[in-house]
């Protein structure tokens, strides 16, 4: 119900249901802080709401909400991914999938493919207007995750989400 109301208000601004991006940001961050994003039932809905917010505010007629998107990205990356130090590299090569560093991502994707599917959707929505909010460290984390999901079709929704991300990024 909460996400339905907020989602509706974002698509139909004004009147009785009126939530600003700052309101939505506060709502999502408060919810994320309260729970384990990987195990909570609400995480998928929160990520779906985040993707909707990003999509709606990608339209140039809407104000720029880079600050909110950067905070949301940081929050979800910290909540979803392990704190791993990554090797320096210019490009992501398929050989990475052979290295032990990807194992934690493999475990994560299996644990909740739906949440990662929604996370990839959110990231793909940031490409056209909010890619300047991407940090090197976060890009590495989600790109590892996307590569692992692409190499693991049995992950179902996560694989689908990773594929959609690639398609979306090629179109952009």
């Amino acid at each position: 119900m909460v996400t339905s109301i907020v989602d509706f208000s974002l698509s139909h601004p004004g009147g009785l249901l009126s939530f600003s991006p700052a309101d939505v940001l506060a709502l999502i961050i408060a919810s994320v802080n309260q729970k384990n994003v990987l195990t909570s039932n609400a995480s998928t809905l929160l990520l779906s709401l985040t993707a909707s917010l990003t999509k709606i505010y990608t339209n140039n007629s809407r104000p720029d909400i880079s600050q909110q998107i950067a905070l949301l990205t940081e929050h979800f990356c910290n909540a979803l991914f392990p704190a791993i130090g990554f090797p320096e590299m210019q490009h992501f090569m398929p050989e990475i999938l052979q290295q032990p560093i990807v194992q934690p991502f493999h475990t994560l994707i299996i644990s909740n493919p739906e949440v990662f599917s929604q996370f990839f959707r959110f990231i793909s929505q940031t490409i056209s207007r909010y890619s300047m909010t991407w940090s090197q460290h976060n890009v590495q984390r989600w790109m590892y995750c996307i590569l692992v999901a692409l190499g693991y079709p049995e992950s179902g929704l996560a694989f689908q989400g990773a594929t959609d991300f690639l398609v979306h990024s090629f179109i952009q």
Partner: protein, 267 residues
């Protein structure tokens, strides 16, 4: 024997006995199944039905069935062929015979009875959306709904009525005056403390708020930019929703998904 000529053989005088009840049900069912009555036959049928309803309690078993059938008839989205007006909704035919208020009264009585409350809610929704006579009494309807909301009827029935009322307000009232007419719905929850109530009670309030907000958009999407929503009672209501949503998500954070499962179409 053609139904119309059969109908003419049952005068209103025999209303009180059991057989006339059966005949009333038979004809209502016929009408529901797209049997077309003449204007005069329909008028006679409706007057007859109201006569039965006025003299009988819906708590008795056979009359519950009659109530349910009548309420379904009021609330039906299908249309009735009228020789003079072409195709009209059933609720409009009540209007033609000056029976809209009686129908609304019957529906408000019936909504408190759980076995027929859904039919009654649909009937109320249909009547207040379509009747121009009822539309002249927006404030009285608001009062009736305000009294109904704290009762123990099903939330889906409350939502149905609130949507009908909001549609009426959005269609008939000046856009700057809409918040004032919507506020009685919110006043029904004036004593609700969102910081201490149960999740069920809080959820019910959210569903009603959402029903109002969504219906305003559906009924008149171009009027949500009215100044009345950025000041005074309009702003107060919008802020109340914002606070309720934030408090709900903080207090019942794990109810997100469960709630969605209970809320088809976001209701």
């Amino acid at each position: 024997m053609p139904w119309r000529s059969l109908w003419c053989k049952f005068p209103i005088a025999v209303v009180a006995d059991g057989k006339s009840l059966e005949v009333a049900l038979f004809f209502l069912t016929s009408v529901k199944n797209e049997f077309t009555l003449s204007r005069s036959a329909l008028q006679t049928l409706l007057r007859w039905i109201f006569e039965i309803l006025e003299n009988a309690s819906p708590h008795s078993e056979p009359l519950t069935l009659l109530y349910k059938t009548v309420l379904s008839f009021f609330g039906m989205p299908r249309c009735l062929h009228s020789p003079d007006k072409g195709v009209v909704p059933y609720a409009t035919s009540l209007e033609t015979f000056g029976l809209s208020f009686k129908a609304l009264e019957v529906s408000f009585q019936a909504i408190t009875i759980s076995s027929i409350s859904t039919s009654a809610a649909h009937a109320i929704d249909k009547l207040i959306r379509t009747s121009t006579m009822i539309a002249l009494h927006v404030e009285q309807i608001a009062q009736a709904i305000n009294q109904l909301l704290p009762t123990h009827i099903e939330i889906s029935d409350k939502v149905c009525i609130v949507e009908g009322y909001t549609f009426l307000v959005a269609q008939r009232v000046d856009k700057e005056d809409v918040p004032r007419h919507v506020s009685p719905v919110f006043q029904a929850f004036a004593n609700l403390d969102i910081d201490s109530c149960t999740s069920g009670v809080a959820l019910e309030a959210l569903k009603i708020y959402f029903a109002v907000g969504r219906s305003l958009y559906t009924a008149s999407p171009g009027e949500l930019g009215a100044r009345a929503w950025t000041e005074g009672v309009g702003l107060d209501m919008a802020n109340r929703i914002g606070k309720s949503v934030a408090t709900f998500s903080r207090r019942f954070s794990e109810d997100f998904e469960v709630i969605e499962a209970f809320c088809p179409n976001g209701i």
